[in-house]
Amino acid sequence: MRVMREADETFLELVRANEARLRKICRVYASDADAEKDLYQDILVQLWRALPSFEGSSQPGTWLYRVALNTALAQKRQRAARESATIDESNAIWRNPIPAPDESLESKQRLERLYAAIARLDDVDKAVVMMYLDEKSHREIAEVLGITESYVGVKLHRIRKEMAAWLAGEAA
């Protein structure tokens, strides 16, 4: 049996535990299905490259969000430089780019509405709301973004109001 290196095991555990979260981030930031696949794969590569700093991290959740979010926002700016390292379509890690919820048609439609509402936010607010939906604390959100906890509160207050109005409005 092949002995797996500790770093390999850490990485796989990290991906296993956060696959759904990473794919949600991709869905929120990518422009289409192909971009979602590219982004997911790019995030995995960046997580791997940043892994040495994960091992000394006291906040694994914050670390993962930082790398994933920074990769998503940087991808557009750095696409050209990374072109050669992008994995081609034949090597795609999954077939369907969108996580399939084990839910009814109505639930799928509600999710579609939720993603549509998130898409109306600016890039930073998208990150804030994703972490809010993932039940991250103000402190964790502040650490990922590098702003104060009180400012996270201010942002969340506004975003929740906007989201609530959009979600209610779109349902009517």
Binding site: Q46, I93, D102, R110, R113, L133
Partner: protein, 200 residues
Amino acid sequence: MAGRGSGMNLEDARREWQSQTTLEKPRMSEAEMLELVKHSSSAFDRTIARRDRRELIAAIVVMIPFLPLLATGPWLARAGVLVVLGALALIFTKLGAVRRLEASERLDLSLAELLESERAKVNGQIRLLESVVSWYIIPPAAGAMLIVIGLEGLSWFTAGYAVFAVAVSLWVYRLNQHAVRRELRPRRSELERLIRELKG
């Protein structure tokens, strides 16, 4: 169908968000995925290393034809060769520093830290390209001019060469300013937009 009564509040939204699972089996095994990620990561490193090697080789190739002149040419041409060699070393060093800075990106920083560091890098690149005349154009052009004067004296050929050198320098300058306008300023604007969104 999203009809009346199917409205969603934020608590519902939270539940929906957290209920998403990745039911679909990945296309490849974990071992294959890991292999792919490692391969892509090292491909990226190899690309950077290849580019650095190419630039070093290009600098050496450009230097080689000048070396015989250094031993046998007239003193003005020798001085010109030294200026050209110095200019090539300066260009290689400046470009190398920018490349190293680009490759040192750390994605585990907070978004605010990353955006500020990216903006500092882009500002540095803009300054570098805006000052391209002083480090990229004039030094090698002046060295080459000294070589031509040393070899040909003040002649029609030398005058023609000077016109040619000025034209090439202007073209290189415009090319660099075009890159600033088309690539770097939009990148800086995008970073500033994100910083504004972040800090309000």
